[in-house]
C-alpha cells in the first residue's frame, strides 16, 4: 500500500513535502500528491508516516488501498 492525499482536504501548505524520506510528494495545481511508486509508508525510515504526522488536517493523508502493502526488500 501507499499513502495518498485527499485533494479536497489538502490546504496546499507543503508541510509534508520536505518530510517525505522518499521524495514522493510534489505539488500539482496548488495541492500535493504522493507518487505511489515511491511511497514506502515510511517503513524502514520512521515509526510513523511523516505526511500523516505533520498534516494539519486530519484524514487528509490516507492509505491508498489500490496498492499492496509495502514490503522491505532484502
Amino acid at each position: 500500500m501507499a499513502y495518498e492525499i485527499v485533494a479536497s482536504l489538502c490546504t496546499g501548505c507543503c508541510a509534508c513535502e520536505p518530510e517525505c524520506p522518499n521524495e514522493a510528494i510534489s505539488e500539482k495545481k496548488n495541492v500535493f500528491i504522493i507518487d505511489p511508486e515511491k511511497c514506502t509508508e515510511c517503513i524502514g525510515h520512521f515509526d510513523e508516516p511523516q505526511c500523516v504526522a505533520v498534516c494539519p488536517i486530519d484524514h487528509t493523508c490516507i492509505i491508498d488501498m489500490a496498492y499492496p502493502r509495502y514490503e522491505v526488500t532484502a
Binding site: D47, A53, V54
Partner: protein, 517 residues
C-alpha cells in the same frame, strides 16, 4: 448597561483579581487570579526607553504604538507549512474579508514576495517593515523564509526584516536570523506550564514524530524559553504574543509575563482569542469564548510595569499590507504584481517622504506635551473612541470607520489602550440602521467618540446610548484633542453640570466584516 459612580480611591491600579472579579460581576462568569502588581502605564516613548532601543523600534509599527500611526508594514505569505497545531487555528479556512493570523488569499514564492515588497515600498513610502508571519510558521519553512530575506536585503536594504514564530524550531535558527540583521522577532507564547499547554496545543511535530498532550507542551515551552534566551543574548528585540483564552490561560498569562520578562523580552502583546464558530477552529466549535474588552484591558493593565504592553495589535493576516488599522493587500495581488514589468526601488523618494512624517510626528508630540501642561489632579479617567485614517489625527468620517482607536485619558494624560473593529456604518452614503448597535456595543465603554464628520441619525443614537459624538476636533491631533476634551469634561464635573460614571464593558468584534465594502 450597568454603570457605577466612579470610585475616588487613591489606589490607582487594582490587582488583576479585583479587576477581573469586578468585570465578572457584570458578565456572570467566575474568574480570579493570583493578583497582579501596581504599575504605571508606558506608551513606549523615548522617556522610558534606551536611545539605542528607540532607534530600533521608532519606525516599526508593531513595536511602537506611537510609530503605528505613521508607519506601515507588510507580511509576505511565503511560509505555509507549520510544525504545531493550535486549538485557535484552522488552516482550512480562508476568506478575503477575514483578518486573522494564519489566513491568506494566496501564497508566494520568495521571488514573487521580493517583487511584491518592492512594488509596495514604491506605492507606500511609509512602509518600513517586512515581516514573515506564516500563514504557517516561518521557521518550519526556513529555506523559503531566508531566501526571501536574502532577496529583499539585496534590493531594499533600508527595509527592516522581522518574523513571527511559535518558537519550536527557533533555537536552530538564531544564528541565521542574526546573520540577516533581523532586529525583531515575535514568539507566540501562550503558556509556560505544560498542564495548561495541553489544552491549547493538541500536537507538535517534533523529531519525525507527532507528540501530543503534556509531553508536546513541555517540549514546546522548553524550546520557546531557550529560543527567547538565545535571541535576547544575541541582541535581538523580542516581542511575545499571547492569546488570552478565558478559563484556560487568562490567569496564567501573568506568569507567562513574568517568565518572558525575566528572559529579556522587550514587549508583551496579549491578544483576545478569536473563536467564531464559522472559522471551524477547535475553540470555535467547542464554544470557547474570547475575553471582553474590559477583561483584556484588566489583564494588560496588571502585566504593565517595567515591561511594555502592546495594545495596538490588529491580529493581522499573514499577507497584510499597510498601516495596522488598514489592509491594502487587495491592491497588491500576485496577478497585479506579475503585470508590472519591472519595479524600480526609489529609495530617495521614500527617504524624503519619511522625513515629512518625522516632522509631523515631532509636532504631534509637542502638541500633546503642551496640552498636558495644566492638567488637574483627579482619579477620574474617561475613555474616548477615535475615527482615524492615521497620522495620529482625528480624520475619519464616523460612517467610514472600520475600527475605532481607544484612548484612556486622565491626570496622567492620554494613553492608547486598544482598538475596536466595527462593521462599516455607512455604505455608499446610506447609513445602515442595523450596523449602529454593533458600533455602540464595540465602543460602549467610551464616554465620547471623536470623528471628522458624522450624520444626524447616528449622532442622535450615540447620544441616546450615552456616548458623546464630537466632531469639533476634525483633523486635529488625537491626543492633544483628547486631553483638551478631558479638561473640559473635568471642569463640568467640578461645576456639577454632569456626573462622572464608568461606562461598563464592550464587545470585541469577531469574524469577518459582514458588511464589507
Amino acid at each position: 448597561m450597568q454603570s457605577t459612580i466612579a470610585s475616588v480611591s487613591t489606589q490607582e491600579v487594582k490587582p488583576l483579581e479585583q479587576l477581573l472579579e469586578k468585570i465578572a460581576d457584570h458578565k456572570g462568569c467566575g474568574t480570579s487570579s493570583e493578583g497582579g502588581k501596581a504599575s504605571c502605564g508606558s506608551s513606549g516613548g523615548p522617556a522610558d526607553m534606551a536611545p539605542e532601543v528607540w532607534e530600533k523600534v521608532k519606525n516599526h509599527p508593531c513595536y511602537s504604538e506611537e510609530a503605528h500611526h505613521h508607519y506601515a508594514r507588510m507580511h509576505v505569505a511565503v511560509a505555509p507549512a507549520c510544525n504545531i497545531q493550535c486549538n485557535y487555528c484552522n488552516r482550512k479556512y480562508d476568506c478575503a474579508n477575514e483578518s486573522r493570523p494564519g489566513v491568506v488569499s494566496e501564497k508566494l514564492t520568495p521571488e514573487q514576495a521580493s517583487k511584491k515588497v518592492l512594488a509596495v515600498a514604491s506605492a507606500i513610502p511609509q512602509m518600513t517593515v517586512l515581516g514573515i508571519a506564516g500563514p504557517g510558521d516561518p521557521l518550519a519553512n526556513p529555506a523559503k523564509t531566508f531566501k526571501t530575506f536574502e532577496l529583499i536585503a539585496k534590493t531594499a536594504p533600508d527595509i527592516k526584516l522581522c518574523l513571527s514564530t511559535n518558537g519550536l524550531a527557533l533555537p536552530d535558527h538564531v544564528d541565521t536570523i542574526k546573520g540577516f540583521n533581523v532586529d525583531h522577532v515575535t514568539i507566540t507564547i501562550n503558556m509556560v506550564d505544560p498542564e495548561i499547554g495541553q489544552h491549547i496545543y493538541p500536537w507538535i511535530f517534533w523529531k519525525n514524530k507527532r507528540l501530543t498532550g503534556i509531553e508536546a507542551a513541555r517540549i514546546l515551552t522548553e524550546r520557546q524559553m531557550l529560543g527567547l534566551e538565545m535571541l535576547t543574548a544575541a541582541g535581538v528585540l523580542c516581542k511575545i504574543n499571547s492569546v488570552m483564552i478565558p478559563g484556560i490561560n487568562d490567569k496564567h498569562l501573568v506568569e507567562v509575563n513574568k517568565a518572558v520578562k525575566s528572559r529579556g523580552a522587550f514587549l508583551h502583546n496579549i491578544m483576545p482569542l478569536i473563536s467564531a464558530p464559522e472559522h471551524g477552529t477547535v475553540f470555535g466549535l467547542t464554544g470557547q469564548r474570547g475575553p471582553t474588552a474590559q477583561e483584556l484591558k484588566a489583564l494588560q493593565d496588571s502585566c504593565e510595569g517595567d515591561m511594555n504592553m502592546m495594545r495596538h495589535c490588529r491580529q493581522c493576516r499573514a499577507d497584510a499590507v499597510g498601516l495596522l488599522g488598514e489592509d491594502r493587500s487587495a491592491e497588491f495581488t500576485t496577478e497585479k504584481i506579475d503585470e508590472m514589468s519591472e519595479v524600480v526601488y526609489d529609495a530617495a523618494t521614500r527617504k524624503a517622504y519619511q522625513e515629512l512624517v518625522e516632522a509631523e510626528r515631532s509636532e504631534k508630540v509637542a502638541a500633546k506635551e503642551a496640552a498636558m501642561a495644566d492638567l488637574d489632579v483627579t482619579d477620574i479617567k474617561i475613555m474616548i473612541a477615535v475615527a482615524t485614517k492615521g497620522q495620529g489625527r482625528v480624520n475619519e468620517h464616523f460612517g467610514h470607520a472600520t475600527e475605532f482607536q481607544i484612548y484612556e485619558v486622565g491626570s496622567n494624560g492620554s494613553k492608547f489602550i486598544g482598538h475596536r473593529r466595527v462593521d462599516l456604518y455607512c455604505q455608499g452614503g446610506f447609513g445602515e440602521e442595523e450596523a449602529l448597535p454593533s458600533v455602540v456595543n464595540a465602543i460602549n465603554d467610551c464616554h465620547a467618540v471623536f470623528v471628522a464628520k458624522i450624520g444626524g441619525c447616528p449622532r442622535d443614537e450615540l447620544k441616546a446610548a450615552g456616548i458623546d459624538p464630537v466632531d469639533r476636533f476634525a483633523n486635529e491631533f488625537i491626543e492633544e484633542s483628547a486631553i483638551t476634551y478631558f479638561k473640559e469634561y473635568f471642569a463640568r464635573v467640578c461645576a456639577r453640570e454632569i456626573v462622572h460614571v464608568d461606562r461598563g464593558d464592550a464587545d470585541i468584534r469577531q469574524g469577518a466584516y459582514t458588511a464589507a465594502a
